[in-house]
């Protein structure tokens, strides 16, 4: 077995192995330490001989034995008895590791613990990427555009909080499950959106983050089958991500939906997303925001081109979303869909009315949406102003380049504020 193959096994198994070790040893840090030791032992032993049939069980077993050794040493050192936990002494991990349902429960425990609402959202995301996805601290730090040292401290504090505040290592029960699951899905979607359209930096997309989010949702769908919100979110992410190759030029410039080469879209992934939406819609329950957003993405995925997209149905679905989970993003997307049905003037009215109510205060994509509507209305001077505001509002380089391109297309400012074009548009 090559070191690369062994690395791949670690990558695939670390989340689950860690999840089980945490339950067995009752401590996040100890579990992480002994899992690292088990990895080191595997790197030594596996290349020479045949790797074990069940690498995860092997890792858990070796990790558990290392933990027992450590605790024994501490017991001998401190002269204290009774420190070996019941589970460490009695669990026969080999049999247990073969029982997939026990391991699934452990993995769910880990997901719900990392996404506990007593952590700030950012901390939930970082903990999940580090422990559930098995990313290194350096990789997580890159995801947050922060230093490895700062990220490491944040993770240490979070794990300390789990221990000191008594955050239980359990999947919430009954009525607590629904809100907590929504929290877990919000974490996954946040990881995805940051990967799909970064909020800052040089690159529009960070496909590694989008991939991790899809992997997490797949895992959750397997662990909690038959939940429409999980299927809805997975479908939504698959359908968005399927367009990845069409969304960017080789030079890293943004290609908007209306200009995208649809033959570049990943049809296999689209088919999977469409199937998941069907499954989600068949399950009982009220309309779920993720499933509705996925249905919108499906209409885009099915459309032969931008003009022949089913805009009236998309606008209608955004109205559903405005009812069940209103937000500035949904308002803006709704207005954009309305502009395709009733024209940009009607959409601009919607946005201006919203803005007057203060519903979009500080929302950074607002000037960009206004700029596009004004441009389509032929109100070039107002559009130019809005693009300047949009440029100031974003920290993402590719978006700045897009706005610069648009401004160039608009040409030089006219001498009078109300040029002839402006009059004609009205």
């Amino acid at each position: 077995m090559s070191p690369a193959e062994i690395e791949q096994i670690f990558r695939d198994e670390s989340g689950r192995a860690l999840a089980t070790l945490i339950r067995l040893v009752g401590d996040f840090d100890l579990a992480e330490d002994v899992l690292q030791e088990a990895f080191a032992a595997a790197l030594e032993r596996w290349p020479a001989s045949e790797p074990p049939a069940n690498p995860r069980a092997w890792l858990v077993n070796v990790g558990r034995n290392k933990a027992i050794d450590r605790v024994r040493r501490q017991v001998a050192f401190r002269g204290k008895l009774g420190e070996l936990t019941h589970e460490l002494q009695n669990a026969s991990v080999t049999d247990e590791a073969a029982d997939a349902s026990v391991l699934d429960d452990d993995m769910l425990r880990l997901v719900f613990t990392c996404c506990h609402p007593s952590f700030a959202m950012e901390v939930q995301v970082a903990l999940t990427l580090r422990t559930v996805c098995g990313l290194s601290t350096a990789q997580v730090a890159r995801g947050f555009l922060t230093s490895e040292e700062a990220m490491s401290q944040r993770l240490v504090r979070a794990k300390q909080k789990i221990r000191l505040a008594g955050i239980s290592y359990e999947v919430p029960e009954r009525e607590a499950l629904e809100p907590r699951l929504r929290g877990v899905l919000a974490v996954i979607y946040l990881v995805f959106t940051e990967g799909y359209a970064a909020t800052s930096g040089e690159d529009l997309m960070r496909p590694d983050l989008a991939r991790e989010a899809i992997r997490l949702a797949r895992l959750l769908d397997a662990l909690m089958p038959g939940r429409r919100e999980v299927k809805g979110l997975l479908a939504l992410m698959l359908l968005h991500d399927a367009r990845r190759a069409g969304r960017e030029t080789a030079a890293g410039d943004i290609v908007l939906l209306e200009e995208q080469d649809r033959s570049l879209w990943d049809r296999t992934q689209i088919a999977e997303g469409l199937q998941l939406i069907e499954d989600a819609l068949r399950l009982p329950g009220p309309p779920d925001p993720y499933a509705v957003q996925a249905a919108i993405a499906a209409l885009h995925a099915r459309a032969p081109n931008f003009e022949d997209t089913d805009w009236p149905q998309i606008a209608g679905l955004y109205e559903v979303l405005l009812r069940i989970s209103p937000s500035p993003v949904i308002e803006l997307n709704h207005a954009a869909a309305v502009s395709m049905v009733d024209g940009p003037a009607r959409a601009l009215d919607l946005i201006d009315a919203l803005q007057a109510r203060g519903g979009l205060d500080g929302y950074e994509l607002l000037p960009a949406v206004r700029a596009d509507l004004l441009r389509r209305l032929g109100r070039h001077d107002a559009a130019r102003e809005a693009y300047v505001a949009a440029t100031a509002a974003t920290k993402l380089e590719p978006l700045r380049r897009l706005y610069a391109r648009r401004m160039k297309e608009l040409g030089a400012p006219s001498l009078r504020a109300n040029g002839p074009r402006e009059k004609r548009a009205r």
Partner: protein, 116 residues
């Protein structure tokens, strides 16, 4: 584990409360306290006089300095506490959410340190 549930609320608004509302609030606190005594979570609990009665003490270079008022001026002030026994944070958060003051003020939930 033991948790201290610290009840913060806006004193100025509390002072404006009419007698009927005040009585209703006391009754709700009474009911709540009884319920957590019965469920076995209650260890201790008290309300505090307003921060206008507070004195802050510091010792610097061996000299005792006293100042009138609380340590820091904040929008919400500490007004009372419960000390509870709970099996985990979720249970403690659940107890905190049921405190009447959680609806207009806020409850800080702090695990009590264990000395080994």
């Amino acid at each position: 584990m033991q948790y201290l549930l610290l009840i913060y609320r806006n004193e100025a608004e509390l002072a404006k409360m009419d007698p009927a509302a005040r009585q209703k609030m006391s009754a709700e606190y009474g009911t709540y306290t009884q319920s957590i005594i019965q469920s076995g979570h209650f260890k201790a609990g008290d309300g505090l006089q307003p921060t206008s009665t507070a004195t802050t003490v510091r010792v610097r270079d061996g000299k005792t300095l006293t100042t009138d008022g609380p340590f820091a001026e904040t929008r919400e002030q500490l007004g009372g506490y419960y000390l509870v026994e709970a099996k985990d944070l979720d249970t403690a958060l659940g107890l905190a959410a049921r405190i009447p003051g959680a609806r207009d003020g806020s409850i800080e939930v702090r695990p009590v340190m264990i000395y080994k």
